[in-house]
C-alpha cells in the first residue's frame, strides 16, 4: 500500500494503469477461487433440483416406460400429497421427534457442561466418556440398541435392579413407545454435540460480569439466569437450531431399527419419503413430497439463519475492539 501510494505520486499515468491491471488480476484470482464451487453447483446441484422439479409435475413411476415421456399433471401431485393424511402424520411425528430430542439433548448437554465448566479432578476422563456416543456411527447405534432393548434385555434388567420394580418395557415392539425409543437414542447419540457447544460457550463467557454479581451478593441461581444465560444466548440458539435441523433429517437410526413400524409408529418425514420412493416406487409423488419438505425446511432454515446472523453480528461488534488489539 505504502509503495503504491509513493509511486502514484511520482508517475500517475503508469500507476493508474498498473492499478487497473492489478484490479483485473485480483478479479480473475477471485473468480478462480470460486470456480470449484460454481462447477459443483452447475454440474451437480442444479441438474438434480431440476429433475426433482420435473418429477413433481409429471406422473411417473418405474413401471411406466421412459421418464422423459411422462405425462404433465400440473399440481395434481402436490394436491395428492397435501391431502394425504399419512403425510400430515409424518410431518407431526417429525416435528414432535425433533422437538423432543432437541430439548432432551440440550437440557442434558447444558447440565453436564455447567457441572464441568470449572476444572476438577477427573475432568478429562468425563469429557472423553461424554463425547464417545457422538463417535459411534448412527447405524451402529440402532443395531446396538436392538441388542440391548429386547424385553428381557440388559436395559430393562438394570433399570429393574436400580428401582426395585419389575420394569418390562417393550421398547421395540410397542407402537406407543417406538418413537420415544428413537428419540431417546437420538438424545444418547447427540447430547455430546450440545455438551461440546455449551462447554465451549461457558468457557468463552467473560468472567467480569459474573464476578461483579458475586461481589454484589447475588445467588448462584440468579447469576445463572440473569447473567450467564443472556450472555450465552448465541450459543444456546446455535445448539438448539442445528440440533433441530439435524433431527428433522434423522433417517439411519429410525430406518435401521424400525423401517417405519411397528404399524406406522415411526414413520417420520424422511422415512415416509423413502418408502414412497423406494418401496412403492412412486417417484413423482416422492418428488412432490420432497419439494414440499424442502420448502418447509428452507423456511425454517431462513428463520434460523436470520437469528444466527443477528447474534453473530452482535458478537462481532462485541469482540471487534479485542481483535484490533491483536
Amino acid at each position: 500500500m505504502a509503495v503504491a501510494a509513493l509511486s502514484s505520486a511520482e508517475i500517475p499515468a503508469a500507476a493508474s494503469r498498473r492499478a487497473a491491471s492489478r484490479a483485473r488480476a485480483v478479479r480473475r484470482f477471485k473468480l478462480t477461487l470460486l470456480l470449484p464451487l460454481i462447477a459443483l453447483f452447475v454440474f451437480l446441484l442444479v441438474p438434480v433440483l431440476t429433475l426433482q422439479l420435473y418429477f413433481s409435475f409429471h406422473q411417473w413411476t418405474v413401471y411406466l416406460g421412459s421418464w422423459w415421456d411422462a405425462d404433465y399433471v400440473g399440481l395434481d401431485l402436490f394436491q395428492s400429497v397435501l391431502t394425504d393424511p399419512r403425510f400430515g402424520w409424518a410431518v407431526l411425528r417429525s416435528l414432535a421427534f425433533a422437538t423432543g430430542s432437541t430439548v432432551g439433548c440440550f437440557v442434558v448437554g447444558f447440565a453436564l457442561a455447567y457441572l464441568m465448566a470449572k476444572p476438577f479432578r477427573g475432568h478429562a476422563v468425563y469429557y472423553t466418556l461424554f463425547i464417545l456416543p457422538m463417535l459411534t456411527v448412527p447405524v451402529v447405534v440402532s443395531y446396538t440398541a436392538e441388542m440391548m432393548l429386547y424385553r428381557n434385555g440388559p436395559v430393562n434388567g438394570i433399570i429393574s435392579a436400580l428401582t426395585g420394580l419389575d420394569f418390562q418395557v417393550s421398547w421395540l415392539a410397542d407402537p406407543n413407545i417406538a418413537l420415544t425409543t428413537v428419540a431417546l437414542l437420538e438424545i444418547w447419540n447427540w447430547t455430546p454435540f450440545s455438551f461440546i457447544i455449551m462447554l465451549a460457550g461457558l468457557a468463552a463467557v467473560p468472567k467480569e460480569p459474573i464476578e461483579a454479581a458475586e461481589i454484589l451478593g447475588a445467588s448462584k441461581w440468579r447469576i445463572f439466569w440473569e447473567v450467564q444465560v443472556p450472555l450465552l444466548r448465541p450459543v444456546i440458539l446455535l445448539a438448539l437450531v442445528l440440533r433441530f435441523l439435524e433431527a428433522m433429517a434423522e433417517f439411519p437410526k429410525t430406518w435401521a431399527l424400525f423401517q417405519g413400524g411397528p404399524g406406522s409408529a415411526t414413520e417420520t418425514l424422511p422415512v415416509y419419503i423413502f418408502m414412497t420412493t423406494w418401496q412403492y416406487f412412486e417417484i413423482s409423488k416422492g418428488a412432490a413430497m420432497s419439494y414440499i419438505v424442502m420448502l418447509l425446511m428452507i423456511a425454517i432454515v431462513l428463520v434460523a439463519i436470520h437469528l444466527l446472523r443477528r447474534e453473530k453480528r452482535s458478537l462481532d461488534l462485541m469482540y471487534a475492539p479485542h481483535a484490533a488489539d491483536g
Binding site: 446441484l45 453436564l112 441388542m147 428381557n152 446455535l238 433429517a249 433417517f251 419419503i273
Partner: protein, 293 residues
Amino acid sequence: MAMTKTQRRRIATVVRYGVLSLWALVAFFPIYWMVSTSFKPDNQWFSWPPVYFPSPPTLANYRNVWLGTEQYDVTQYAISSQKPLISMWNSTVIATTSTFLSVLFGSILAYGVSRYRILSEARMFQLLMLRMIPPIVVVAPLSLYYSALGLLDSRTGLILIYFLTTLPYAVWMTKSFIDEVPREIEQAAEILGASRWRTVFEIVLPLIRSGLVATFLFILILTWSEYLLALIITKTQVTTLPIELSKYQGTTEGRVYGRQAALAVGITVPLMIVGLIIRKHLARGFSFGMVRR
C-alpha cells in the same frame, strides 16, 4: 442449623460427581454392550438373564466377520467371507478422498472469503443450507442423474456427493483458522514477489497445518458414517461399512448379534480414535464462528 461453607461445598462436589458418573454410565454402557457382545459365543447374544460378561470370551465373531474363517456348523450363518474387508477398503477410499477434496477446495474458498470476501456473510450462511436441507429430499433425482452419467454404484459418485455436502463445514471451519493468520505475513510475501497462489499454498495453508488436520478428521467423521446416500447410490459393486452392517443378517435367522457387534466394533474404533485425536477442536467444527475465545 445452617451448614458451614465447607459442608456445602462437599455436598456440591458429591452431587457433581454423582450426576456426571450417572451420565457416564448411560453414555458408556451401550458401547460396552456392543464390545462385550462381539466377544460372546452365540448362545449368549440374546439370553435371559442377560449375560454381562462374555464367558468364556471368544474371537469367533471377529474371525468369522473379518477373516471369513470360522463358520458355525449348527446355525450355518452363510455370510460371504471377506465382504466386510472389501467394504472397509471402499469406506476408506471414499471417506478419505471426499474429505481431502472437501478440505482442499474448502480451504481455498475460505481463503478467498477471509481475504477477498468472495462470498458475503449472507452467502456464507446460505452455503450452510447444503448441509441443513435433509439429503432425503434429493436422493431420488440424484440417483436418476447418476444412472444417466454412469456414476451409480461407483466410488466416484459417492465421493462427489460427499464432497458437495461436507464443503460448507470445510469452508466454515478452515476460515476460522485462516482468520487467525496475521495479514502482515502475506503482505510481506507479496512485496517479496510471491504470486497469489504461492502465497496460499506455501505460506497460508502451511501455517494452519494443524487446523487443516483437525478439519480433515472432523469431516472424516461425517463421511465415514454417512448412511442414506450410500444406501441409495451404491447397490452391489461398492458397499460402504454402514451399509454392509445393515445388510448383515444370517440366512436362516435374523439375529446374528455377535457378528453384527464384531462388525460394528470395526466401524466404530477408527472413528473413536479420530474423534479423540481432535477432541479439542470439535467445538470449532460445530460452532460456525459463534463461540469466541
